[in-house]
Symmetry: C2
Subunit: 248 residues, 2 copies
DNA sequence: CAAACATTAAATGTCAGACAAATGAAAATT
DNA sequence: AATTTTCATTTGTCTGACATTTAATGTTTG
């Protein structure tokens, strides 16, 4: 584990990279303790604050955890699915908002990926998944539900669908696509009619998964994709019109 | 933007969270300059090293960039697709290796997602994508190619397939699934016969996309999935046998 | 002897102040 | 007018110190 003193990059960035590489390559294994900050400072020939900045970078990526006190220190952390998913969601959300990704692109990506899960979910969904989906459908039908809550429930429904595939890697990957859509979905105003259509399609999807009918699930998902796209287009058009109005 | 002095969490973590939230909520926009480190230290009532640790956390997530000198400082950074994808790949790879994800699970996830891209790719692939795929197929057929290079080319082929869908969000999401599989694929020893089968399937996929025949592409991908799975199982069985041997 | 308590050492968390290095802008010079 | 010099600002790094947490050790006591 060495750094290049001639490099123009920050020392803390170099040190972080050196340790990160050691973790990725397997030189440092899960729950192994890193040398203390003073020892690392000696090893890399830098001061302790510089080492600390490097460790904070790694902590931000959930690669290490630190513990105070005697026999404390920095330990290589086992990355959990939940943590990885939450990181992934944050990054995806920021990526979409900062690059002004249009509704169509995000929507297409999300539903394409979800349709990939449907056949597996039809095969493996448990009663638990079905119950979650039906509970969310019920919630979506409640009168007086705000648009935001409706979207939240929509996300929960689709996550249950994805989780039904019983593949944690798939769930992790999909979490980013599904959750990152939420800010975009929140721009839509859902009329009662809109909701009825969506709830109807959700019900068809749940029934199809219940009957382990993969083809029916796919058809319903395709229809939901098309419908969501038209809703999104309408919302974007309405926004554009409102903007033109305010600028006049 | 405030922090809770009573919280047990590190001050630098709290400050990083406060700034991160401001970025996510849109209070801080792309290319906006943050206050200088001394000013932030005053605002949050902490010392400059503490502020610096917080900023390094954000830098590790590519949320800010820093510039030295007069009129320098920390600026909110636009997250690019490439950066987000590379972060996603690192996280996915670590997640798989640290949690000892089995070949079957990862493989299933990867191909399920890829098959979701195939219809879109059949519709939109450009001559460029087809050329890349054919070039990689040609590379895969070269004699004396190491297993590692073969896998590398395989990844390049599949990324071209995904990119053919012309949906950057999809490409970003898939990058994690495809690249993270590489370490697992590297455990496989590809015989000439194995390679021939894979190259044949790759050719069928390229031809199908060329002909914009989505169904044919899906069939070939399904066969490739099944074949890769058997190869993986054999490799894992061989590994287990070798281990049993060495323990005897 | 065992359990409760006090002590201690090691480690991270935080702070204060200083200097180095980079950099853009203003001032001085040619 | 163009070039060079100076200068103020800001991040990068270092030194040294103190606070806080925590486990291990030692001590006392029932």
């Amino acid at each position: 584990m060495k750094i290049d003193p001639k490099s123009s990059a920050d020392l803390s960035a170099q040190i972080a990279k050196a340790i990160r590489d050691a973790i990725i390559s397997g030189d440092l294994i899960v729950d192994e303790r890193l040398p203390s900050e003073s020892e690392l400072a000696d090893q890399f020939q830098v001061s302790r604050p510089t080492v600390r900045e490097a460790l904070k970078r790694l902590a931000a990526q959930n690669l290490i955890r630190t513990q105070r006190g005697a026999s404390g220190g920095a330990f290589v952390r086992r990355l959990s699915y939940d943590e990885a998913a939450s990181q992934h969601i944050t990054t995806s959300t920021l990526l979409l908002s900062m690059n002004a990704v249009d509704f169509e692109t995000a929507c297409e990506a999300r539903f394409a990926l979800e349709r990939a899960c449907a056949p597996l979910s039809a095969k493996r969904r448990t009663p638990d998944h079905l119950a979650t989906m039906r509970a969310e459908i019920h919630r979506q039908a409640q009168p007086g539900l705000s648009d935001e809550r409706f979207c939240e429930s929509d996300v929960a429904f689709h996550r249950a669908l994805v989780d039904g595939a019983a593949n944690p890697v798939l769930s992790y990957q999909l979490a980013g696509a599904v959750e990152a859509m939420q800010p975009l979905m929140n721009m839509i105003t859902f009329t009662q009619r809109n909701r009825d259509v969506i709830i109807g399609l959700h019900t068809r999807i749940a029934n199809a998964l219940d009957a382990q009918d993969s083809a029916a699930a796919d058809t319903a998902l395709a229809e939901l994709t098309a419908y969501t796209l038209t809703l999104g287009e309408e919302a974007m058009a309405a926004r554009a019109a409102a903007k033109a109005q305010s600028e006049r």
